[in-house]
């Protein structure tokens, strides 16, 4: 198919390389260097989508990031992506895209009936209509709105692409590579500063690519190309295209999204699709340019109505005509460049200028080229449904209130220019103030809050000469402050046309008897009448008007609509624009893909995985692993067809009968040293620590200041001033921070040091009646008898040439020991235990059996120490010293903590001795009681008691102390279970604790 709207000799696309692509199933051709938008326009495709609310036909409005219309669903390498702006998506071979927000097709869209029913869809329609009846919300309204709203569909597949994050630091970060960005980057880089220059488009140069200027006798583009080439060759400069700085955060942290391979048919292996840069800059130069704003007139959303600057860009960059019978409708000089460009390409434009007259250089040039210019003329309304076919024009009175006789003229596009809006998003996000500049009818940055400066047209400066001068100066000045160098550059000679003043005119009045829709927000379908309605209904604050009408709330964030919206509100309210103020600019400046935000932290990479030194052995021996915090721990070791239940039962039974070994490396370990260590422990733990002898361990409980149990564990006195503390796996990090807090801030006079040694030691718990016999074989030179190594004893020993620590502590209620060796020897220790253990029927056991053993002996763990329980609740009140003070003690005097019916740990057994009780079940008196049924307690942990061969649970129960023997019901609405239970002691095994001491 011929590209009917492609010009022959103009543009920067590579005509040697033809690319084929599909849009809505139909095949087209474009060139390398095209965007999807320019390639479609070249092929005469002007209808790309349907609007959000009224499903009106949508074409192209801009040529870049500000595009409100041309949003497509993109298909690339087997993946699909919604919300892609066709004006930014570069063409690649095989690209496929589809229109969104239309059904069954973009040409015939059933939703377009909304356009004729639009009386029913005024501002606030959703708020007014979908409020009642309440029950309709989930079933009817919400699904309806969901289906009707939004642009495109998110893929439900896992995204196979790779996204990366990068952290970077620099002296100067420069956002935008137009004249101000290039000049400041060049001046700063030549002065030795580390510079990052970011450009969101594929091509550098910004307005220099399309403006008719000369710099040092070169064209703007040539000058830009030379500067970029030189910057790229400098080691202190990073130059990035396709990179959008979208957020300005605290302390000069900016985030940039780099589209690394979005412009290619697919990403190479190990190459990310997108990369997110977190950049901390000493100084920021905001050279983000400006966006042309439209003039509002009737049916100004018809396809074929485009920004004049976009029309020029399509011609000069892509060699594409947006139309062959153009109208240029303007209130200022800049649109004349578009008209002249048309004329140079043998197209005859008609210019309608709202001003009464102007005789600037560029207008003289246009006149000399024979361009038809009608002053004091405006476009009243565009005509045509899917494409502009003609337009009604009229002469307008001097006060801009009255239209003379309306005339219809034929045209196929209307290039509109209502002057320029500085892109102040980043400057405003930084926290800086803005001010309204009367001369340009727009806001510009005022006082900076952070270390940033805004230059060029983003700062409301529209002449190249002044832009280059201030930018060279500023780049030099800022770099000098950082580098102390003094190499300044000569400011180049500029030749440009002087512009005359623009006309403060932005909205064409409605002719008598006509009700044309005049749109402000082209993506969210907000018209002048919607704003008028909102104000009639009493909305005053611009933030409220925005939310009620959705003005500026679409994915383009109102880049082309905000200022005209403000103009309208201020006109109606008879205020000046600065009195109305603007809505808050928030990041991101453009939509950012969720993939880029998440980066590599997905799936298994969302947190680190820690493995014990014995991990490979577990893996080889059929361990089934479970996540325990960041650790991977064996849950059970599978034999044959066993499931979790059978395997863990076998492992737990073997501990009670013979001996088992469990990898306890993950336990938190903290080394505590110093002359005041005993005194410190005495303040940290609830029980007494001053008299613990060397070579002995003690169980301890620590509280938070509010009296809640924080953690428990054993601490062993290794030598006079040296202790080894253990914590639960989950609380290890918090306990260390807690200890550091008290040592550094509360009691700095204590001479104590703490350090985490969790990863320095590998640990194996050996438990069961045969554990001592096994231990004797492992340590033949050490006396491990009940006298030599009594309960809670500690000894250093030699494990076949390896130094080991033996602690006689028990988590299972059996005779048990914990052996620690340095991590590198962990596997050696483990294999020795397994090898020698064979003679004693030793089996390894996992966390499930470990839990079973601790639950049935009534030993509390994380599920009871859940941040809501005090020592009494968990049966640990015996460990609370009455004599000494400690962290959190004063809180234990609280009235609520001393109520007679205070909750307490109990055991729970189902009456049928068969039904396992789901963890989290509530204990109630009457299972059929009226809702809300009073909850007496909850099941904290459940297991299958191997000692009694029936289910057993622990619970925290109100007045638990006096409830032993009572019958209650455990209810789990989640599992739909109600189980009759009996309350028993939490010590279901060996209540006197004889085994551990045997």
């Amino acid at each position: 198919m011929r590209q009917n709207y492609r010009l022959d000799k103009i543009g920067l696309v590579n005509r040697e390389k033809k690319l084929s692509f599909k849009f809505n199933g139909k095949k087209y051709f474009g060139y390398e260097g095209d965007t999807l938008a320019s390639a479609l326009i070249a092929n005469g495709v002007h209808l790309v989508g349907r609007s959000f609310k009224y499903h009106r036909p949508r074409g192209f409005f801009g040529a870049g990031v500000d595009e409100p219309y041309a949003i497509v669903q993109l298909y690339r390498n087997g993946e699909t992506e919604p919300n892609v702006r066709a004006t930014e998506q570069e063409l690649f071979e095989g690209l496929e895209a589809k229109s969104v927000n239309c059904w069954p097709s973009v040409n015939f869209d059933i939703g377009a009936i909304n356009n004729f029913l639009n009386i029913f869809l005024p501002a606030g329609f959703y708020y007014k209509t979908f409020m009642w009846p309440r029950s309709f919300w989930y079933r009817i309204y919400e699904p309806f709105i969901r289906k009707a709203a939004g642009f495109g569909v998110a893929s439900k597949e896992h995204d196979k692409e790779r996204y990366e994050h990068k952290y970077e630091y620099c002296d100067l970060l420069i956002a935008g590579s137009g004249p101000s960005g290039l000049a400041s980057a060049y001046a700063a880089a030549k002065n030795g500063a580390r510079v990052i220059l970011a450009e969101d488009k594929p091509r550098f140069g910004g307005s220099l690519l399309t403006s008719d200027v000369s710099i040092n006798n070169q064209s703007g583009k040539e000058w830009a190309d030379n500067i970029i080439t030189e910057l790229k060759g400098m080691t202190n400069v990073t130059v990035k295209n396709r990179a959008q700085i979208f957020g300005y955060y605290d302390h000069n942290m900016l985030v940039m999204s780099e589209r690394v391979t979005d412009h290619l048919p697919k990403s190479e292996q190990f190459t990310p699709k997108q990369r997110l840069w977190y950049i901390r800059a000493k100084q920021v130069v905001i050279s983000s340019g400006s966006i042309e704003r439209p003039i509002v007139f009737g049916n100004n959303d018809t396809p074929g109505v485009v920004l004049a600057s976009a029309a020029k860009e399509y011609m000069k960059v892509y060699g594409v005509l947006v139309g062959k019978k153009p109208i240029v409708f303007t209130n200022n000089d800049s649109a004349y460049e578009t008209a002249i460009e048309f004329k140079k390409n043998n197209i005859n434009p008609i210019v309608l200028d709202s001003r009464q007259d102007s005789n600037s250089e560029i207008i003289k040039e246009a006149k000399s080229l024979g361009i038809d210019i009608k002053f004091s003329h405006v476009v009243v309304a565009a005509k045509g449904y899917k494409k502009v076919k003609s337009c009604d024009i009229a002469e307008i009175s001097e006060d801009k209130q009255n239209l003379n006789q309306i005339k219809n003229i034929e045209c196929d596009c209307i290039c509109v220019s209502g002057f320029w809006t500085p892109t102040i998003h980043l400057a405003s996000q930084s926290g800086g103030k803005t001010k309204f500049k009367e001369e340009i009818d727009a806001f510009v940055p005022d006082k900076s809050k952070q270390k940033e400066v805004t230059l060029g047209s983003a700062n409301g400066v529209f002449t190249l000469e002044e832009t280059l001068k201030t930018s060279f100066d500023k780049g030099f000045e800022l770099s000098k402050e950082i580098t102390n160098n003094n190499n300044s550059q000569q400011i180049p000679k500029v030749s440009e046309k002087k512009h005359s003043k623009h006309d403060k005119f932005w909205c064409v009045p409605l002719p008598k008897g006509k009700k044309y829709k005049r749109f402000l927000d082209f993506q969210n379908d907000v018209a002048v009448s919607d704003i008028e309605l909102a104000i009639r209904e009493g909305y005053r604050s611009i933030e409220h008007v925005k939310r009620y009408t959705t003005l500026g709330m679409a994915t383009d964030q109102g880049k082309t609509s905000n200022l005209n919206g403000l103009q309208l509100v201020s006109n109606i309210e008879n205020k000046v624009v600065p009195a109305v103020g603007h809505t808050t600019f928030r990041p991101p400046y453009t939509p950012i893909s969720i993939g880029a935000i998440v980066g590599r932290e997905i799936g298994k990479h969302s947190k680190p995985t820690r493995k014990s030194p014995m991990h490979n052995w577990h893996e080889k021996n059929n361990a089934v692993f479970v996540d325990a915090g960041v650790w991977l721990r064996p849950r059970y070791y599978k034999r044959g067809n066993e499931g979790l239940f059978e395997a863990s039962k076998r492992e737990a039974e073997n501990v009670r009968k013979n001996v088992g070994v469990c990898d306890v490396t993950t336990l938190g370990k903290i080394d505590i040293k110093g002359p005041d260590a005993a005194e410190f422990l005495n303040r940290v733990y609830t029980n007494a620590w001053l008299k613990l002898p060397v070579g002995k361990a003690r169980y301890g409980v620590m509280l938070r200041e509010d009296g809640i149990v924080m953690d428990d564990g054993t601490t062993t006195r290794i030598s006079e001033n040296h202790y080894h503390m253990t914590t639960t796996t989950a609380q290890a990090a918090n306990v260390l921070s807690h200890l550091e807090y008290y040592l550094q801030l509360v009691w700095p006079e204590l001479d104590v040091n703490v350090v985490s040694t969790t990863e320095q030691w590998a640990g194996a718990a050996i438990a069961g009646p045969k554990s001592r016999d096994l231990l004797q074989k492992l340590f033949p030179d050490t006396d491990v008898s009940n006298e030599g190594l009594p309960f809670m004893g500690f000894v250093e020993a030699n494990l076949f040439g390896v130094n080991a620590r033996i602690f006689r502590i028990s988590f299972s209620g059996e005779l048990a020991y914990e052996v620690n060796v340095e991590s590198d020897n962990g596997n050696f220790m483990w294999e020795k235990i397994i090898e020698i253990g064979k003679d004693f029927d030793l089996q390894p056991y996992g966390t499930e059996a470990l839990s079973t053993l601790r639950i049935e002996m009534g030993h509390v763990a994380g599920s009871e120490l859940d941040g809501r329980t005090i020592p009494y609740d968990t049966g640990l009140d015996g460990l609370v010293s009455k004599k000494k003070d400690f962290i959190g003690k004063r809180s234990l005097l609280k009235k609520a903590y001393n109520e007679k019916d205070r909750q307490r740990l109990v055991g729970v057994v189902p009456l049928d001795k068969k039904t396992s009780i789901p963890e989290g079940s509530h204990l109630v008196k009457d299972p059929k009681g009226k809702l809300p049924n009073p909850k007496l307690g909850h099941i904290s942990a459940s297991c299958w008691s191997v000692e009694h061969n029936n289910p057993f649970s622990l619970a925290i129960l109100k007045d638990g102390k006096n409830m032993i023997g009572s019958k209650l019901y455990a209810m789990s609405p989640l599992k739909n279970k109600t189980i009759a239970v009996e309350i028993v002691s939490s010590h279901y095994v060996d209540p006197k604790g004889e085994r551990v001491r045997s």
């Binding site: 952290y167 955060y249 605290d250 302390h251 000069n252 942290m253 977190y278 901390r280 926290g431 809050k449 303040r683 200041e705 509010d706 990090a733 260390l736 921070s737 550091e740 807090y741 550094q744 801030l745 509360v746 700095p748 000494k884 003070d885 004063r890 809180s891 005097l893 609280k894």
Partner: protein
């Protein structure tokens, strides 16, 4: 993201630190008789000022020192940072 100057390590990003609350709170001395109200104020009650706030930060992914930071809670400006034992003001 804040840029915090650890007095031991230098300028580091906020994600190396954990917030520790009001630095002006003093724990009552051990073994001292104290009213319910005084204790409650120490455990639970904190001012949440708009403006200058002396607060604790813990350099958890760094030197593991608790430091004091004088920060404006509304603008996030950091005026100064101090070692734990340094007197402020």
């Amino acid at each position: 993201m804040l840029y915090i100057k650890c007095p031991h390590c230098g300028l580091r990003s906020q994600n190396e630190f954990a917030y520790g609350g009001d630095a002006s709170v003093k724990r009552p001395e051990l073994n001292k008789e104290i009213s319910d109200q005084e204790w409650d104020e120490f455990v639970y009650l904190r001012k949440s000022p708009r403006g200058k706030h002396l607060e604790l930060w813990h350099h958890v992914s760094g030197c593991r020192q608790w430091i004091k930071v004088l920060r404006d809670t509304s603008t996030h400006e950091i005026f100064n940072t101090y070692k734990s034992e340094e007197k402020v003001g």
